[in-house]
Structures are given as C-alpha cells and as structure tokens.
C-alpha cells in the first residue's frame, strides 16, 4: 500500500510536467499572441488590438519581456546571427522591401520589426558597428540606432515585492534607459549629430560591456542557447512557483487571489461530493431493490433526463423561476439571487447561526445547479453497480445462509456498490470545478471558476496559466484519491501489481 502510494506520488510530478509541456505548447504554437486580442466587428472587419490589454506599446513590451515572450521558443541561437543578416534586415526595415525588392505589407513589416527588435539584445556589437559606420546611409544608421536602443534598454524588476538590491539595479537600468532614449529624441539627425551620438553611444557601450553580456563568449553562448528561451523561462517560473501578479494590479499576487477565493469554490465542490454520495447510494439501492418495477423505470427515465439537461439551462431557470419570480411554491424571499453571503454590512451583524443560515440560503440554488448532473449520472451508476453485485456468488451465499434481505442490501451490496461511486466521485474533482465555472458566473459567486472566466475575458495571461495548471493538479489529486479509496474499500484488490 505504502509502496504504491509512493510510486503514485512520484508519478504525480511526471504527469504534471507533461501537462506543463502541453500547456506550453498550446500557448506558443497556437496562432496569435496570447496578449493580443483580435475580434471580428459586426461589419465583418477583423480588428487586432493589443492596446485593449495593455495601455501602451511600452507596457506591452514590458509584459513580453517579463514573461520571456521576446525569446525564441526552444533554443536561442541569436548570438550567432551574422553581420550580413543584420545589415540586410536593417536595409529591409529602412526601405520596407522584401529581399526580392517587393513591397512589404504592414503585417509582414510589423512581424519583421518585432522579431528583429527581440533579437537586437544579442546583436548589440553589430548594431553599434553600423551606427558608427560612416559609409552606410544615414537612414540605415538611424534605424540601427533605434534597434540598439531597444536592445540596450533592459527590463526593470516589477511587482509588489522589490528587494533593496533589485531597487539599486532598477535605478541603474532606469539611468541607462533614460540615456539611450535621449539618443533617439531628434527624429531628423544630421550627419554631424549622428556622429556625436555614435561617439556617445560607443562610450556608453564600452562602459557597460563588461557588466552586461552584450558580446558573449563561447561558453556564455552555450548557456544562452539553452537558458534564454521561452521554455526555460516558463519552467523556471513554474518551479519557483512564481505565477506573477494580476494584469491590472501589480500588487496583487495571483496565488494570493486564488487562495482568497478558494473557500467559495471548495464549498461549492466538496459539499456536492458528500451529498451526492449519500443520495446516490440511497437512490441506487432503492432502485436495485425494486428492480424492474415501475418505480425503477420511472426513476431511471427521470435521472436520464436530468443527466441530459445542460447546466447553463438549469442555472438560469433556477434563478428566474425560484429566486426571481417565485413561480415554485414556498420560495418567497427564501433564496437570494446571487452572491455567497449577504452584503458585508448585514453579514457582520449576524450571529454564527444566522450566518450559517445565510450562507446556506445563498448557496442552495448554486449547489443544486452544480449537483443535479453528477447526482443523476452517479445514481444510475450506483444502480448498475448494485445489480452487478447482487449477481455475485457471495450474495447468493448470504441469502442461502438466511440473512435478512435488508441487511444483505446494506452490508453486502451497499458496501461493494459504494466502491464504484467513491471512485467515480473522487475522479470527478477536477470536473466539478469546471462545472462550477458556469454556476459561479451566473450566480455571481466570486470563486475560482468566475475568477478564471473573468481572466479569460480580460486576457489575464498569468491567471489563465495558473488556473489551467491548478485545475489539472486538482484532477490529478482526485484520481489519486480515487485509487486510494478503491484500495481502502476493496481489500481484494492489490494495487502492488496494478501499476
């Protein structure tokens, strides 16, 4: 048992790692940028907007720097790019022409500009050579200068917690960046001015060259090849459990926000498990007891229909008929429309008992909406399981021994049928969380599901990433629990050789 548990726990990180890889692949290989929003207007025109998610180009760049989106995906060979490539690209960007002299479209130009901008950090010496090369045309030198500035400006540390040392680094970076951006101020630099700028920039470069690795050695190149990639950044962020901050508030950590909401979501996903278990077993055994009677058939049909009802039909129906219009008898003022508790001002005044009643009244409808589906499915499962067990030899033996039918139903059939239910329920932990997403959105309960949904609507990259991971981890734990419950309830099964 212990060996199995250990093996299972060892497998958990492997599985989680694979899920990480799949998540990573989805983010990076899917067309489009995770932070750019594109939508089709009612007139049919396609609109791409990154300013929706980020106030300005500057912030957008900052975001990409922070999450390593400016880096290549798997390996980084940018320090090895040749001088001729740099010259050619600068030429292309200045004249907006393809290699075959065809005019570039805006989209292609943007893509090349972005790629070259991302690469510029690794091309600093080459760019500097072009800037100070007096033979090349002024426009190209100016273009090279722009990319030199882009490559030279490093991202600062941002977030709620910045240490003293980081603050010092930030100050240095800010000084450098201010200097570099100053170089760009005059858009129409003359030859002489450009020469002055080139000298100033060269001086700056010779100062920072030693501390910043703008011209890496062969060894550094190898380390850059592997470490300065999106994959590496992504994994290191996950391994250090750095899930970043909320998009619209740098002082709110994602993990903190999630844990704050977890109590709502756990209430909404664990309570159904317990209620479902009790109800399923009761109902399933009843149906198996009166097998093939009218009760069995009608309940079976009813449960099938319940199973087929989509949650996004049932939840609005409950809101409208029960909470809002009181069409169902005895529902006057009993069920509030939304939220997890009454407003804070009212809630603070209540006694503990009143608070409990308040919460119960608030979550009754959401719970019902979350539960009915798994209730129906699992009751049918319990019925099948009970009928299956009733055919076993040991039940026949028990009957032959003369044990009362009711006690056979409880202790022989019931216990063994419950194994199936527990397994099914435990492995649905992740699913329940997904199901509560719609319910939380509709009932305006500020839980994990609604948090995630809002993140998707607002393109909050960090939260989306974290939620997908947390959801996966939860369902993995669910599977583990299911296996453990299986061994605990069914001693016949040896998991030692099951794996």
């Amino acid at each position: 048992m212990l060996a199995y548990l250990v093996r299972r726990l060892l497998l958990l990180p492997v599985t989680l790692f694979c899920i990480l890889l799949i998540n990573f692949a989805l983010i990076n290989l899917a067309p489009g940028d995770p932070v750019t929003i594109s939508e089709i207007s009612p007139e049919g025109a396609k609109r791409e907007d990154r300013s929706f998610a980020f106030g300005s180009d500057e912030r957008w760049l900052q975001f990409r720097e922070r999450y390593g989106l400016t880096l290549p995906i798997f390996f980084n060979d940018w320090p090895n790019l040749t001088m001729s490539y740099v010259q050619l690209t600068i030429k292309q960007l200045t004249n907006r022409l393809h290699r075959d002299k065809a005019q570039m479209s805006v989209k292609e130009y943007d893509a090349l500009r972005m790629l070259f901008g991302d690469q510029s950090r690794y091309l600093m010496p080459k760019l500097l050579a072009i800037v100070s090369d007096e033979k090349s045309p002024t426009s190209e030198r100016r273009m090279a200068l722009r990319f030199f500035v882009r490559g030279g400006s490093l991202p600062a540390h941002i977030g709620g917690t910045v240490s003293e040392q980081e603050r010092k680094i930030n100050q240095a970076i800010a000084k450098d960046n201010a200097f570099l951006h100053q170089m760009l101020f005059a858009p129409q630099q003359s030859q002489a001015e450009l020469k002055e700028i080139a000298i100033a920039v060269e001086k700056w470069y010779s100062q920072v060259e030693a501390s910043s690795h703008f011209a890496p050695t062969a060894l550094q190149k190898i380390s850059i090849f592997f470490t300065q990639t999106r994959l590496c950044r992504y994994l290191s962020r996950i391994l250090t459990l750095d899930f970043g901050t909320m998009r619209n508030d740098d002082n709110k950590l994602v993990i903190h926000e999630v844990t704050k909401r977890l109590k709502y979501s756990l209430t909404l996903s664990l309570t159904p498990l317990i209620v479902t278990f009790a109800f399923c077993l009761l109902c399933g055994l009843t149906m198996a007891w009166w097998h093939n009677s009218w009760l069995d058939h009608s309940l079976n049909l009813l449960l099938l229909i319940l199973y087929a009802l989509p949650i996004f039909v049932v939840a609005p129906w409950l809101i409208e008929t029960v909470a809002l219009r009181h069409y169902i008898p005895f529902t006057h003022t009993l069920f509030p429309l939304s939220g997890f508790t009454s407003s804070d001002a009212v809630y603070e005044q209540m006694t503990s008992l009143q608070r409990l009643a308040d919460v119960l009244a608030h979550i009754a409808l959401p719970l019902l909406a979350i539960m009915y589906g798994s209730l129906a499915a699992n009751t049918r499962l319990a019925r099948t399981a009970a009928l299956e067990v009733a055919r076993q030899d040991y039940v026949r033996t028990a009957k032959a021994k003369g044990i009362a039918p009711f006690s056979i139903l409880l202790s022989h059939i019931g216990r063994n049928a419950s194994i199936t239910i527990v397994t099914s329920l435990a492995s649905s932990l992740g699913v329940i969380l997904g199901g509560s997403l719609i319910v939380e959105t509709l009932f305006e309960i500020d839980g994990f599901g609604k948090f995630f949904y809002d993140a998707i609507v607002n393109r909050d990259y960090n939260v989306i990433l974290f939620s997908a991971l947390a959801g996966s981890a939860l369902s993995l734990i669910g599977y583990l629990l299911a296996d453990l419950a299986y061994t605990w309830l069914d001693p016949r099964l040896s998991l030692e050789d099951a794996i």
Binding site: I311, F312, V313, T441, V457, I464, S475
Partner: protein, 468 residues
C-alpha cells in the same frame, strides 16, 4: 429445395430490440424531426419565396439562391443546402435496403459522392450573384447615373423580385407588429417598413422606387413564401428591445436585429454538425490508438495508458476555455476540434479493454497460426468484433459535444455572428433576466434535443447489451 429465411444479422437484431423501447423510438423520432428542420431550414425561414408568379412567368428564387455563397455566407449552410437534395436519395437507399441491398448500396454511394462533389464544387467555384445583369451594367463610372430606370437596367429580374418581396414582407411585418402592440408602436424603434417610409421622405430616388414598387406589386400573381418566417437568418429584420418585450416569441428579433425564429431553425444545423463531426473525430482518434494499445499490450500499452492518464487529467472544460482564449479564432471548427481532442480517451480506453479481451480468443490465435500480419488481424478480424460495443457510447459523445459547444458559446467564446443556440442563449443572458424571452426558446430546443439523444443512447445500450 427448401429456402430457409436468412438468419438475423447483428444489425437487424439490434434494430429489432431497439424498436422494443418506446423511449428510444421517441428519441429517434425527435432527432429525425430536428434533423429534418435543420436540413430543410431554408424552406422554413428565408427571405426568398419558394415559388412566385411574376409578370406571367414562374420564378423559384429560393432555389436560385440556394448555393450562392454571399447569401448563405457560412459554409455549413451551403453544405446543408446540398444535403436537401441528397437526403431523399439516402432515405430511398435505407428503404430499399431490405429488398434490394445492392441498389441501396449504389444509391447510398451516389448520395455521398454527389454531396461531396457538389460541396467541393460550390466552394471552389463560387456562383455569381443572381442579382446583377452583367450585360447591361455600364463599364465606366460616367455612364452610371443615379436615376431609378438606369439602376433597374443593370439589375436582373431576381433583384427586382428581391426588392418587391422585401417590400411586401416588411409591410406585412409592420402590420403584424402594429396589430400586436397597437397605436404605441411608433414610440419604439421603427420597423423596417417604417424606416423605409422615413428614408423616402428625403430621397427622390426612393420615391421613384416607391412608384415602381407599387406598379410591380400588382404584377405578382402567386407567391409561396417559406413556411415560418419571411426572413433569412442573416438578414436585417429591424426590431428593438422595447419592441421585443411586447411581441409574441415568433416575432422576436435578436440583439443584432436579425430574425429570431429563423436563427433557431438554422441553429439546428450547427448542433448537428458539431455532434457528428465531433463523434467522427473522436472515433478517428480513439480507434487506432485504442486498438494498437490493446492489441500489442506490454510496453506499448503502458505508454499509451500513461499518456491517456495525463490527457484525462487536464480538465476538459478548462482546457477548452484556455485554448479558445489563446487561439483567438472563434471558429466553430476550432471548437469541434478541441472538443474532439479532449474526449477521445473514454473511447480509446473502452476499445483497449475490448481488444485485450478479444486478442486471447481462439480465433485470433488461428489468425496468427495462418500467418496473417498484424494490420490484417487488427482491421479485418479484431476491430469488427471490438467496435460494436463502442456504438452505444456514441450518442452520449454526441450529446456531450453539442452541450459543450453550446456551453462555450453561452460563455461568449463561440463563433461570432453565428446562429448557434449557445450564441442565442448568450444574447438572452447578456440582459438576463429582463430579456430572458430570448434565452428560453433556444434553451428548450437544446434541452429537447439533448434529452432525445440521451434516450436513444440509453435504449441503444440496452439493445446492444441486453443482459444489463
């Protein structure tokens, strides 16, 4: 010679047992009804009349526009429009199956091939607009003048008919709405007819058009409009929220001012496509993977099982949201692909178990002894025996797919400008509960369809495996 009746085949036995379940038959009947509504939706709701007698000549605008890609802008609609003609052939094939199996097979193949060829043809060579009279269209801008007779010249008869019919239907709609809400109609946003009248006041050209329309409307002898609504689901049908609150449900318009009932009819098509394509995708993925894992066993089996475990651990609905949010193209086919990708493991697991059971049976050993290669054993001996139990899972997979698609659309992540029931419900939800009348029709239809499919699935499972 005594001719004995042929023994019952497996399919016939299933069908015989299936017929014994009234709930299953009810479900099947309902699904067929929905399918019929979906396939023949243009006959129920379209702005083109089925037949019209105009100036002594018969015209059939509905059929003239049936394959025109700018009237039916979604490819799904074009596909179903072709299906309107191939479905009867397929039905005939089913009827003939008992008595003339060969004929039936030929007909079925003809129907399928014709469907695919015509669809490819319509996509590859888009039809030209029936509305333009190319011959009379002046080539240079100077020759064009904005007088009504000159405009008429380069419009074809179909364009004339469109104008006239639009005039008639908008007047009818206006009358219907007025009779429904009485004199206060003018207070709320105007109907199409009202808008037209307003524009005419300031435009001499439109006044000229009015005179012409009045003249032409007298020439129409007979008109057979689509059965339910005189609006195509992509057409502007005016209307407003205030108006909606006082209208019966068949006169409603969506929040983008398009006809509601027409969208409901065409929405069946989306659900059908989602259901069938997802099921197909799931089978295509699950059958090879499950078969290989189960047949070879050992290391292959372990690797495949581990992979499936990892794949299952990803919460499907979260991943759906995640992918749709990242991929950013809210296409229905992307949604189908994702739903398919995240729901094949159940099938593969089942098939693997079945293959493991079958491969130790004597007939497989006999195959090995005969020296057959692996692919032959898998495809012609094992799979035909292992797949049948899988069939009972298909209705539930279809159900899950339809419901997932509607759920995604309901959360605002479906294809924009679509008539999927999920989108219709989303529109109802956006102003919930004040506008919930937009929510319930689509919600009830969806629920009925899902329940019907579940009933079929349940009956089918009992029919395939009568022991349970």
């Amino acid at each position: 010679m005594i001719s004995s009746p042929l023994p019952e085949t497996w399919h016939q036995a299933i069908w015989r047992r299936f017929k014994g379940y009234p709930t299953g038959m009810l479900g099947l009947f309902t699904v067929f009804l929905f399918a019929a509504v979906g396939i023949y939706a243009p006959l129920l709701a379209s702005s083109n009349p089925i037949a019209i007698l105009y100036d002594g000549t018969w015209y059939f605008p509905l059929f003239r526009y049936l394959f025109y890609g700018e009237f039916y802008t979604k490819n799904i609609d074009l596909f179903f429009n072709i299906l309107m003609f191939t479905t009867p052939i397929a039905l005939l094939a089913t009827l003939l199956q008992r008595k003339h199996p060969f004929c039936a097979l030929c007909l079925a193949i003809i129907a399928a091939v014709a469907q695919l060829i015509f669809f490819a043809f319509v996509l590859a060579f888009p039809l030209k607009s029936p509305a333009f009279n190319i011959k009379n269209t002046p080539h240079t801008l100077e020759q064009r003048s904005l007088s009504w007779p000159s405009i008429l010249q380069h419009l074809s008869t179909y364009a004339h008919l469109n104008l006239i019919i639009h005039d008639i239907t908008s007047e009818k709609q206006d009358k219907a709405i007025r009779s429904e809400i009485g004199a206060r109609a003018d207070e709320w946003l105007p109907t199409l007819w009202q808008l037209k009248q307003d524009y005419q006041k300031n435009s001499p050209l439109l006044q000229e058009q009015r005179l012409w329309l009045n003249e032409e409307r007298k020439k129409i002898g007979f008109i057979a409009m689509p059965l339910l609504r005189p609006f195509h689901w992509e057409d502007d049908a005016a209307g407003s929220e205030q108006l909606n609150q006082r209208l019966p449900w068949w006169e409603l318009t969506r929040s983008n001012r398009k006809d509601f009932v027409a969208a409901l009819c065409f929405g069946v098509r989306i659900s059908l496509v989602v259901g069938f394509l997802t099921a197909a995708l799931v089978l295509v993925l699950a059958i090879p993977i499950g078969a290989i894992a189960g047949y070879f066993g050992g290391m292959t089996d372990i690797v495949v099982c581990r992979f499936m475990e990892i794949w299952e651990a990803m919460p499907a609905f979260f991943m759906l949201l995640f992918v749709v949010a990242i991929a950013q193209s809210k296409s229905i086919f992307l949604v189908i692909a994702i739903i398919g990708l995240f729901s094949w493991t159940g099938f593969a697991r089942y098939l693997r178990g079945e293959m493991l059971k079958q491969r130790s049976l004597p007939y497989v050993e006999a195959c090995h002894a005969l020296g057959l290669n692996h692919s032959r054993i898998i495809f012609s001996h094992l799979l035909p025996n292992a797949i049948p139990p899988l069939i009972s899972l298909i209705p539930f997979a279809i159900m899950g797919a339809i419901s997932s698609e509607a759920g995604l659309s309901f959360l605002g992540l479906g294809e924009e400008q679509s008539c999927s029931w999920g989108i219709l419900m989303d529109e109802g939800r956006n102003s919930f509960p004040s506008q919930s009348y937009l929510l319930w029709p689509a919600a009830s239809l969806l629920t009925i369809l899902l329940i019907a499919i579940a009933l079929i699935g349940d009956a089918l499972r009992d029919a395939i495996d009568p022991q349970k």
